[in-house]
Amino acid sequence: MRIASLLPFFATLALGAVPGLAQDQIKVGEFASLSGGSASFGQSTHNGTALAIEEINAAGGLLGRKIDLISEDDRSLSGEPATIVHKLISEDNVVAVLGEIASSKSLEAAPICQENHIPMISPGSTNAKVTQVGDYIFRACFIDPFQGKVMAKFALSRGWKNAAILKDVKQDYSIGLADAFQQSYTAAGGTVVKVQEYTTGDKDFRAQLTSIKASHPDAIFIPGYYGEVALIARQARQFGIKVPLLGGDGWVGESLLKVAGHSLDGCFFSNHYSQDDPSPVIQNFVKTYAAKYGEKPDAMAALGYDSAKILADAITRAGTTDEPKLRDAIAATKDFKGVTGDISLDADRNATKAAVILTIADGGFQFVQRVAP
């Protein structure tokens, strides 16, 4: 072989031999829906996480090293999380992974993190199955069995004894939350008069809404994501369905009120935190976030922030990023003062926290009540 043809071969070898540029940085991976149908989730979470990392780095970093946040976009598509988490772990050699909001996407990535013994902290996946994947999977939020109970009790407390459910069968979150609501609701004396389904990406819900309207519910529980919920609300009002709509934290999306307009006025949903909460911790966070991004943080941003800070706290306590010491430190998180509440991770690696119920009025969300676990 001629030397010239061997040149590219040697060049590649040489490139590969150059050590990773950021040897002295702690690499943390993040996967989120930065574009696509649930882009609001990913962008908010990413903003919160980035803000937290910035604050930590400004204060000197962790263990004397700065944190390098490597973010990847899963474009709201199923199948993408597996690919990008694989890349984060095997190519970028991250010590931990933060993500995702959508439970279906967390469930895709969790087995990969578990297999590679890389801790994964989901900021906002509420489906119970996520942490059941293994002991390296954690979450910074409450789970759907709790969330479903919160909304079921709330509905009954308002005297809405007959409810219809309209769930998204393509999302584990929606199915899980619908089941949790149904169980708690019927156990406490309510009647579920109709269960209808749709899929993520649907635009037309008239068939389902006609069927629901004919069953005369007092309220309709729609545990879906903001993109479809907004359209459902519009079409429901066009159909003359006037009863209140109830939902979960999946409603938190930038375009929700833009697309729904006034169709969601007077409706209620459960969430992780309220912007209007007067507590100094929250108001401080709101101010810092608004100063950096020009808008107030929503629940996903707050959760992104908390998940990053929980990881940082664990790294500091463990004194290392090696496994299983880091994993154990995360699992031992107790009374962590987060923006979304006092967070303690229980034996199932879920956070025991209070939920808040918000309503929609005057073009925004308003606090109604807090429900402790």
């Binding site: 696509g36 899929t199 389902q208 069927s211």
Partner: protein, 313 residues
């Protein structure tokens, strides 16, 4: 009974959209024996054309919904799509006219993927909100219609029926009563003989593509008025369903495409609406429509209204 009528109305309005797109598929197949897989994405471009033109149009009516404004947006979208269809034909399909059928098919898929990704790049991946052009609201049915007053018919649904019906009649007129239409039909029988008769085949083919794409553009605007959330991948699902509708009704047959579209729309809606009574989960709605297609093709291989093509020895 009321619920059934309501679901029927929902299904018919959904079916009308499929019918409009199916017409484009069937026309191109009828004339060229070629399935234009990029057709569903032309529909998407129509919707986005409307999105960009609408604010300028709304300025004339001071931001209020107006029927003339909606009409202008519809016409503009149809023209944009017609031009797009003609360009696609000229650039992607004409050079391959004498090549094997498979080559053009693959090119069509390529054009489809190109349009989708171009759309995602140019318009952004996130769904956009389509402005309310006609002040959509429910029509109140007068009380003397008996129990029918429980029905909710949206203005947009009536608009979709009306426009589809008008376009169907207009298409039939063009195809049967005009010279170009006759040339199109001649081309579908025998292209060589047609050119021997002095017809410029290229012009007729371009016209066919333009017409089919204009119909897709109209469908794009109509669906955006009904379901005001549009995104660059919106053409995928309706495109596939419209293609199935065209085959169901007999590919190459214009009334067949309309019939197929309506059938699929109605069946889909009824399966979802009556899912608990039928014990079929609503997620299976597409499966039911396609199952029906398979069954019909088993017994009527040329579709419902298709004619059996006899091979002459």
């Amino acid at each position: 009974m009321i619920e059934f009528l309501q679901q029927l109305i929902n299904g018919l309005s959904l079916g009308a959209i499929y019918a409009l797109i199916a017409l484009g598929y069937t026309m191109v197949y009828g004339v060229l024996r070629f399935i234009n897989f990029a057709h569903g994405d032309v529909f998407m471009i129509g919707a986005f054309a409307g999105l960009y033109v609408a604010p300028a149009v709304l300025k004339f009516s001071n931001g209020n919904p107006s029927w003339t404004g909606a009409f202008v947006v519809l016409v503009v979208a149809m023209i944009v799509c017609a031009i797009l269809g003609i360009i696609i034909e000229k650039l992607a399909y004409r050079p391959l006219r004498n090549r094997p059928r498979l080559t053009v098919l693959i090119t069509a898929i390529g054009v489809s993927i190109f349009l989708e990704n171009f759309g995602q790049y140019a318009f952004g991946v996130d769904p956009r909100s389509f402005p309310d052009l006609i002040g959509d609201h429910a029509i109140t049915i007068p009380a003397w219609c008996g129990r029918l007053t429980d029905l909710t018919i949206m203005v947009s649904q009536v608009l979709v029926f009306a426009v589809t019906l008008f376009l169907l009649i207009a298409l039939r007129f063009i195809v049967t009563k005009t010279k170009l239409g006759t040339a199109m039909r001649a081309l579908s029988v025998n292209p060589v003989a047609t050119s021997l008769m002095g017809v410029n085949n290229d012009v007729v083919i371009s016209f066919t593509f333009g017409l089919g794409s204009a119909l897709a553009g109209a469908a794009g605007i109509l669906i955006s008025i009904q379901q005001p959330s549009i995104d660059p991948l919106m053409g995928l699902q309706p495109g596939i369903k419209a293609f199935v509708a065209a085959v169901l009704g007999g590919i190459g047959n214009i009334p067949g495409a309309a019939l197929g579209g309506i059938l699929i729309g109605v069946i889909e809606t009824l399966v979802v609406g009556y899912s608990d009574r039928l014990h079929i989960p609503p997620g299976y709605r597409d499966a039911v429509a396609f199952l029906l297609l398979i069954l019909i093709l088993l017994f009527k291989p040329n579709g419902l209204l298709g004619r059996v093509e006899r091979e002459k020895v």
